[in-house]
Structures are given as structure tokens and as C-alpha cells.
């Protein structure tokens, strides 16, 4: 294993810890938005897709990249918008007691 991969493993393990710690504290009320919101985040592969699509290496790569950009973008935009739509509906009682 090279150092670079290993550093990636360090980063992965730490991020997993952060994820576990943060997500376990999300209340059940918000589990559906959590699912769609985190789903949108997994569209981060858009970053890789963009580089491929723009590399100009050959038509093949451009087309693969284009497909990846479209798919990832659906995931990103769709995910964030639908989460926002859901969360928009959550509201406190107008006559809040506490």
C-alpha cells in the first residue's frame, strides 16, 4: 500500500467516526429528510464526473463524463431540493410554550 492510499484510509476512518457521532443524534422525526439530504451529499461524485467530462481526452471520455455529470446532478439537485421541500413543512406550533 502506498502512503497516499493509507492517508485516504485515515481520512475515511475519521469521517466515518464523524458520521456515526453526528447521525446517531438525529431524531427519528428527521430521518426521512436525513436520508434524502445525505443522499444528495453522495452526489459529490459530480466532482469526478466534471473532470472527466471536461478533460477533452476523447469523445468516449466526454460522453462517459457527460452521463456521469447528468446522473450526479440529478442526485444533487433533486436531493437537496426535495429535502428542502420536506423541511419547509416542519414547523413549530405558532403558540410555542417553551
Amino acid at each position: 500500500m502506498t502512503g497516499t492510499l493509507l492517508v485516504g484510509v485515515y481520512v475515511f476512518v475519521l469521517a466515518m467516526f464523524v458520521g456515526f457521532e453526528i447521525i446517531t443524534k438525529v431524531p427519528p422525526t428527521l430521518h426521512t429528510p436525513l436520508m434524502s439530504g445525505s443522499n444528495a451529499i453522495s452526489g459529490i461524485s459530480i466532482v469526478g464526473a466534471l473532470v472527466i467530462a471536461g478533460s477533452g481526452e476523447s469523445t468516449l471520455f466526454t460522453m462517459i463524463g457527460l452521463a456521469a455529470v447528468i446522473l450526479a446532478m440529478i442526485n444533487v439537485v433533486g436531493g437537496f431540493v426535495v429535502t428542502d421541500r420536506m423541511l419547509h413543512m416542519f414547523r413549530r406550533a405558532p403558540d410555542t410554550k417553551s
Binding site: 485516504g8 427519528p28 459529490i44 461524485s45 472527466i52 471536461g54 456521469a68 431540493v81
Partner: protein, 466 residues
């Protein structure tokens, strides 16, 4: 695309994105901050995209713009159009797209190596293979899950030894092929074969699972789509992808385990037992012996209108009947009459975690009027009327009383201990878990037969008459 070739500024932007994702998810810990959190995460994504576009490795913007606009447009339309009840399949489809995008990143990296040296550095090769396989399986599995929930794939759930054996063979074959490719160097034909294997594997793994278990599968695929993104991050040596993928991976795993625990079943049981197959049509066998007492709208309205404390227990049927707005209307009517109304939401009521919360939020029920079972159970004797609306398993006393029942140990809302219980559903048939519900035959229970939306409307009309 090793890290060295990206400029510091871009790498720092990625770090900012990752931090925004983390902070955004953290804000999801409270409904008050959740919307802002989602926006922060979206801003993080925007920063990552813009930073990437500034990368000097990008030479040609034509197709990129086309792709961004097309994908963004489709995503926007889907997100705007989808009904709240269709959320599970929507998330399922998005998972699939994310997985496919990650897989395509790995594919193009494979092709790049294959068309230059043809030899993999071991760890780069492993990352590419992992990214490809996980991404493709996520894609085909998600598409099947989507199809099942949407009613497109009507294939009834079958759990045959044959399918299981085939899956194992395919998995072993895919792993062996991937290992061979890493060691022996790029061979495109074999690689395409692997991809086909993975596509079929995804289908075979999800097909045998009962439609009702799909939400668990979707949460699991959510986790996979994260792992696929992480793998793509390893392929590109990009920490932003690794971090974001790991966050999503952790999130999906936790949701999966929460659902399994709330149903008191193991993940293996969900994946391999063909649970919940064809039970929508099963009828309780002992109807003849036990008596379920029906009630009509007028009597129900009398009970409700003159009660001092009422709880509503929504379940999957509320979602099916889209009765959330009606229920809210009824609750408002009763509150106006001085009745104390609470909504009690079970963590696995409905078909995905937090499903009821989203529906009730859509109907403008403030989230601080929602209670959890453990808040209400201790004093449930003081509740005059417990109205169960299209719920079944989550109010089934067997979970508490019968250690041999398939749902034994699952926490329930103990409506049978309320002074009076009213259950609104269309028949005496079973729910998700496929077991009979003794609550229906308790002397203090009344059945209000009918579609939840229609039934509640009837109650509203009658309460107004009081």
C-alpha cells in the same frame, strides 16, 4: 488526477465543502436548524462544483454545461413533482443515479489506464474495482427497489435456493475477475463482463426481498452509494469524495440498523427471509371466533367530541389514503372543543423512518404536538379515545404479550390500555408483519371500517353536527 496537480486553493475549497457537509448534517439534529443545515450542505456542494470547474484540467466546457443543466433540470423537476408519499422510491432512484455516477468515474479511470500503460498500481487498481462494483450494484439494486415501490416491478418476492446460489456465484466471479484485472493488468472485455455481473447481482439481491422491506433496502443502498462515492474518492485521490462518501455511508448504516432494531429483526433476516411476501391479501384466520365490534361515524364523533384527552396514532394506511390533512382538520376541530389532542408517532410507522413526521408536517401539524410512544404509554389509561388511523403492527399488543410472535419485543403504542380505542382501516386484514392483531377484538376497541380519508371526513362531519 493525483492531489499534486490540483492547486492548493481547490483542495482548500474541498475541505470547506466537507466541513459544510458535516455542519449541515449536524444541523439536522433539530427541526429548527435542519433547513439551514440542508442549505449549508447545498452550498458546500456548490463550492465543490465551482472549485472543480476552476481546475485547469478542465479544457472543454460545452458538454459540462449541457450536463449540468440537463441533470439539474431533471433533478429539480423530479424533486418538485414527487408526492410526499412517494419519497421512498424517489430516494431509491437518486441513490441509483449517485451510484452510477461513481461507477462511471471508476470506469473512465479504468479506460484511461487501459489505454495508456495498461498496468495498475495495486491500490489504484483495487480502488477502481471497488468503485465499479459497488457503484454498479448500487445502481441496479436501486432501480429494482424503485420499481418495486413504484409498482413497476410486480414480480412477487421469491426466495429460491437457486437465486441465492446464483448470487453467490456471481459475487465470487466478480471478485475473482476484479482481482485478476488488478494483478494482470487492464483487459476491457473482462471488465465489461464484470460490470454485467455486477448489474445482475444488484438485481438478484433486491428482487427476492418483499416490497414492504424495501425501505430497509433503500437505506442500505443509501449507505452503498456513499461507499461508492468514497471509492471514487480513492480512485481520484480526492479527500472531499472520501469524506462525503464516508458520511453518507455511516448515515445509511445507522438508518438501516435503526429500522431493523425498531422491527426487532436482524439485517440478515430482512435480506434473506422473503418476509412480508403476499401478506397484503392474508386474512386473519380466527375472525369467526373473535368478535370485532364496529362503530359508525356518529358514535365515534360522540366519543371524540366529549372526550377530554384523545390521541391519534397514524400508520402506513394514513399515507396510502393521504389522509393527513383531514386528520389535522379533525384534530383542530376537537382542540377547538377543548379536547386535548396528541399525535403519537411510532418510529417505524409507515414505510420509512420518519415517514409519518413528514406527512404530518406536510399537513402543518406542528412538530411539538408529536409525541413518541414512551412519552404517552405510561399514562395511556387516562386517554379517553385512542384513534388508530391505518396503523396495525405498531399498535399490536402481541409484540408486548407474546414472546413467540415475529414482532415480539418491538416497542408499541399500547392503545389497548386506553379507555376506548378506535381503529380505522378498511378490513380486518393484517399489516406489514403479516400477523393478526388482538387489539381489534378487545372489548374496549371499536373498528371503523373504510378508507382512512373517507372515515375521517365522516367523523369531521359528525363532530361538526354535535
Amino acid at each position: 488526477m493525483p492531489a499534486g496537480t490540483l492547486s492548493t486553493l481547490i483542495l482548500l475549497s474541498y475541505l470547506v465543502s466537507a466541513v459544510l457537509f458535516i455542519v449541515g448534517l449536524k444541523r439536522l439534529q433539530s427541526p429548527d436548524t435542519a433547513r439551514g443545515g440542508n442549505r449549508l450542505a447545498a452550498i458546500g456542494m456548490l463550492i465543490a462544483i465551482v472549485a472543480t470547474l476552476l481546475d485547469r484540467a478542465i479544457l472543454d466546457f460545452t458538454w459540462i454545461i449541457a450536463g449540468l443543466v440537463t441533470g439539474g433540470g431533471i433533478g429539480l423537476i423530479m424533486a418538485r413533482m414527487v408526492a410526499m408519499t412517494a419519497m421512498p422510491q424517489m430516494v431509491g432512484a437518486f441513490n441509483g443515479f449517485g451510484g452510477a455516477a461513481s461507477a462511471l468515474v471508476a470506469v473512465s479511470e479504468f479506460l484511461r489506464v487501459s489505454r495508456s500503460t495498461g498496468v495498475f498500481e495495486t491500490d489504484h487498481g483495487i480502488s477502481i474495482m471497488a468503485g465499479t462494483l459497488i457503484g454498479v450494484i448500487t445502481f441496479s439494486g436501486s432501480m429494482i427497489a424503485f420499481g418495486k415501490l413504484q409498482g413497476i416491478v410486480t414480480e412477487s418476492a421469491i426466495q429460491s435456493q437457486f437465486i441465492r446460489l446464483l448470487s453467490i456465484l456471481l459475487a465470487v466471479g466478480a471478485l475473482a475477475g476484479a482481482g485478476y484485472l488488478v494483478v494482470a493488468g487492464a483487459n476491457e472485455l473482462l471488465y465489461w463482463g464484470l460490470i454485467v455481473f455486477a448489474l445482475i447481482l444488484g438485481v438478484l439481491v433486491v428482487i427476492p426481498i418483499g416490497g414492504a422491506d424495501m425501505p430497509v433496502v433503500i437505506a442500505l443502498l443509501n449507505s452503498y452509494s456513499g461507499l461508492a462515492a468514497s471509492s471514487a474518492g480513492f480512485v481520484l485521490d480526492n479527500n472531499a469524495l472520501i469524506i462525503s462518501g464516508a458520511l453518507v455511508g455511516a448515515s445509511g448504516l445507522i438508518l438501516t440498523s435503526i429500522m431493523c432494531r425498531a422491527m426487532n429483526r436482524s439485517l440478515a433476516n430482512v435480506l434473506f427471509s422473503a418476509f412480508g411476501v403476499g401478506m397484503e391479501t392474508t386474512r386473519a384466520g380466527e375472525e369467526g371466533e373473535k368478535v370485532a365490534i364496529p362503530i359508525d361515524g356518529e358514535d365515534a364523533a360522540m366519543l371524540l367530541g366529549y372526550a377530554s384527552q384523545v390521541i391519534f396514532v397514524p400508520g402506513y394506511g394514513l399515507a396510502v389514503a393521504q389522509a393527513q390533512h383531514k386528520v389535522r382538520e379533525l384534530a383542530d376541530l376537537l382542540t377547538a372543543r377543548g379536547v386535548k389532542v396528541k399525535f403519537v408517532v411510532h418510529p417505524v410507522a409507515g414505510r420509512m423512518p420518519g415517514h409519518m413526521n413528514v406527512l404530518l408536517a406536510e399537513a402543518n401539524v406542528p412538530y411539538d404536538q408529536l409525541y413518541e410512544p414512551e412519552d404517552v404509554n405510561p399514562d395511556i389509561e387516562n386517554v379517553d379515545v385512542a384513534v388508530t388511523i391505518g396503523a396495525n403492527d405498531v399498535v399490536n399488543p402481541l409484540a408486548r404479550d407474546d414472546a413467540s410472535s415475529p414482532i415480539a419485543g418491538m416497542p408499541i403504542i399500547e392503545c389497548d390500555r386506553a379507555k376506548t380505542s378506535i381503529v380505522i382501516k378498511r378490513s380486518l386484514s393484517v399489516g406489514y408483519a403479516g400477523i393478526d392483531n388482538p387489539l381489534f377484538y378487545k372489548p374496549n376497541n371499536r373498528m371503523f371500517f373504510g378508507d382512512a380519508s373517507v372515515a375521517i371526513q365522516r367523523m369531521i362531519d359528525e363532530v361538526k353536527e354535535l
